[in-house]
């Protein structure tokens, strides 16, 4: 009997075969950890049982922070600290000046929402300049797909490998 290993990898060359394989193997109780693909596969989130990402909620939070900070800045600088009277149009109160302040408020909202989300994305995905990628098969950014399966102590590895092979994998690694 093989000694228990942590991971085995199934290499596929078709996204539909892969999608069905993930659904089938998970149904059979195999622990399919992850899938590496050259492009996003429609339906893979459900097949793998991934919970929806909350990155858009993060973006919204950053956005309203931008709105609030912009309004605070505009109020402080132009209304509170040094109100100017230009062309007989004084800056007396935020609610009177708000139409003039909309463009900057909007731009600041977008600025923080976009950059906050992208930074969140990079940190959550653990991708930054200098990070070494985990490349299981270099073809997985071209036209092949990799399925990462965890083999538990109580599972028979050769059995798992056979099941991966049977599900349409062109190769089983690891």
């Amino acid at each position: 009997m093989d000694s228990p290993k942590r991971f085995v990898y199934g290499i596929y060359n078709d996204e539909h075969t892969l999608l069905h394989a993930v659904e089938h193997l998970r149904h059979e109780g195999i622990d399919v950890k992850d899938v590496v693909s050259p492009y996003p596969i429609h339906g893979m989130d459900d097949a793998l049982g991934l919970i929806p990402t909350r990155i858009s909620i993060a973006s919204f939070m950053f956005g309203i922070t931008g709105t609030s900070l912009a309004l605070l800045m505009l109020w402080y600088m132009n209304i509170h600290d040094w109100p100017m009277d230009i062309g007989g149009k004084p800056s007396f109160a935020l609610f009177k000046n708000i139409p003039d302040f909309i463009p900057v408020t909007f731009e600041s909202t977008v600025l923080l929402a976009a950059h906050g989300m992208v930074i969140t994305f990079l940190l959550r995905c653990k991708i930054l300049p200098g990070v070494e990628p985990e490349v299981i098969d270099p073809r997985s950014t071209d036209d092949h797909f990799v399925m990462k399966v965890r083999v538990w102590e109580d599972e028979n590895e050769s059995n798992v490998r056979a099941m991966i092979s049977k599900s349409g994998a062109i190769e089983v690694k690891g």
Binding site: P38, L50, V110, I127, P138, T141, D142, D143
Partner: protein, 468 residues
């Protein structure tokens, strides 16, 4: 197995490509050597860039007296060039953001280079803003921070300050939108790299992207939200640019239709520039199977639509100038069409309104040579539009004693020609070192829009009809 899609939907990838061939075709320019056309273009662009540096240094060193502006015409080529460049940038965001929200799959072959165009065009635009300040070393005064000369802040009631926020937000957001889309494609180049240095550089550029399911899930959601943020952003940017004029009380500028009219004009000129760039790029890099006649046709449709919107805006301005009963307003427009700058006005009308109407013919829309010619015409026309709006509205002031003509100097002309170098040098480098087509995204339509899938679909349908 293929994804069922109506066979009325056109083929977007011709030439019966396999997925591996797509990767090969798009990586070839990066992995191979540049041909002589690229080097010729690069040398010309570098010469222009050098000339730009010389003219800019002369402007900064000697002062704005080196330009042709005078006390009546305070804005001329500088702001014309600024608006022209920033307008060109708009097509990139329209393609990547608004066409994404509308689920237009044909954007996938052109969005990468159009976004690159946006970024380089905004850099050119910003260069004119900074150089026209006269004292560019204090350009930071336009940002709001407590200055050491007293507690006076910038005036947030002014559209010029809105512009500082709009342009800087637009530039940085476009940059991260573009770069985040590039991450998976850099990973493709990295995993194919044959030399050590390529491996090193593309590992660095790809941030260690590997394409796991969770990362793709976040990637897709992020692209969608960034598109949703960029769509109103791009409309706001040119609206704010138009308000630099519209909130003033200069006859010819003080017009409420300016924001939509400027946005339409921006998209119009931007698509023309995309055509100019892509028609050359597809030929030189051999991307005809990805940027097909259908893609060119679709862009020409947008050109004829936005060109017509701009035409209606020109006519509305005239009508309202008369209908308002304001004699200054009426004179500003009559002077535009019949005054000493009539040639600029009629060049604009011919290039922007009359000639694009030829694109109602599908035969012409799908003619590559004609499209290339028209794209240059539209770019010239849109440059004249900004010149007409700025110079003809200013040069005849309220008091006839201050009526003047404006003549550009060699420095201003040099800055404009040089800015083309400032644009083309990074663009040419982009075509050499970056994947010019978003291949990872393009592969998502592999099972629905390639020529072999479409043909198979037609055959299946025929078979069904025969076999009942």
């Amino acid at each position: 197995m293929s994804i069922v899609e109506s066979d009325l939907r056109p083929v977007l990838i011709t030439g019966d490509k396999t997925m591996h061939q797509i990767t090969e075709d798009i990586c070839r320019p990066i992995e191979g050597k540049a041909n002589k056309y690229w080097w010729m273009a690069f040398i010309v662009a570098s010469a222009a860039l050098t000339w730009w540096v010389i003219c800019l240094s002369y402007t900064i060193g000697v002062g704005l007296g080196t330009w042709g502006e005078n006390k009546t015409v305070g804005w001329a080529w500088d702001i014309t060039n600024f608006v022209w460049w920033v307008g060109i940038g708009h097509a990139g965001t329209l393609i990547s953001a608004i066409l994404l929200l509308f689920r237009q799959k044909w954007r996938l072959s052109i969005n990468r280079s159009a976004e690159a165009m946006t970024i380089f065009a905004v850099i050119c635009a910003a260069s004119f803003i900074v150089s026209h300040m006269g004292r560019p070393w204090v350009a930071y005064w336009s940002f709001p921070f407590a200055n050491q000369f007293g507690s006076l802040w910038v005036n947030f009631n002014s559209p010029l300050i809105w512009d500082v926020f709009a342009i800087s937000t637009y530039f940085t957001v476009s940059l991260v939108f573009w770069y985040s889309g590039l991450l998976p494609d850099f990973a493709v180049v990295r995993d194919r790299a044959k030399t050590k240095s390529m491996k090193f550089w593309y590992t660095l550029l790809s941030f260690g992207w590997s394409g796991t399911a969770k990362n793709w899930q976040r990637f897709e959601e992020m692209s969608l939200v960034l598109a949703g943020l960029s769509a109103p952003l791009v409309l706001s940017v040119h609206s704010v640019v138009s308000m630099d004029f519209a909130t003033s009380i200069v006859p010819g500028w003080h017009t409420t239709i300016f924001p939509p009219y400027f946005v339409a004009g921006a998209i119009f000129s931007g698509f023309a520039m995309v055509q100019t760039l892509l028609i050359i790029t597809r030929k030189v890099l051999g991307m005809e199977d990805y940027i097909t006649l259908y893609h060119i046709d679709m862009m020409n449709r947008i050109i004829v639509l936005t060109g017509s919107i701009v035409g209606i805006a020109y006519m509305s301005e005239f009508f309202i100038a008369w209908y308002s009963g304001v004699e200054y307003e009426s004179y500003a427009f009559i002077n535009r069409a019949t005054g000493p700058y009539w040639w600029a006005y009629w060049s604009m009308m011919t290039c922007n309104v009359i000639s694009p109407q030829l694109f109602w013919s599908q035969k012409l829309r799908r003619n590559v040579t004609f499209t290339f010619f028209m794209s240059i015409i539209v770019n010239i026309g849109m440059w004249f539009e900004r010149f007409v709006i700025i110079v003809t509205s200013l040069h005849r002031d309220y008091v006839p004693s201050s009526w003047v003509m404006y003549h550009p100097t060699w420095v201003e002309m040099g800055l404009f020609i040089g800015s083309l170098g400032l644009f083309f040098v990074p663009f040419l480098l982009f075509t050499r070192f970056f994947p010019v087509i978003a291949m990872s995204e393009l592969k998502t339509i592999f099972h629905s829009s390639t020529s072999q899938v479409k043909r198979q679909q037609k055959e299946d349908k025929k078979g069904e009809l025969i076999n009942g």
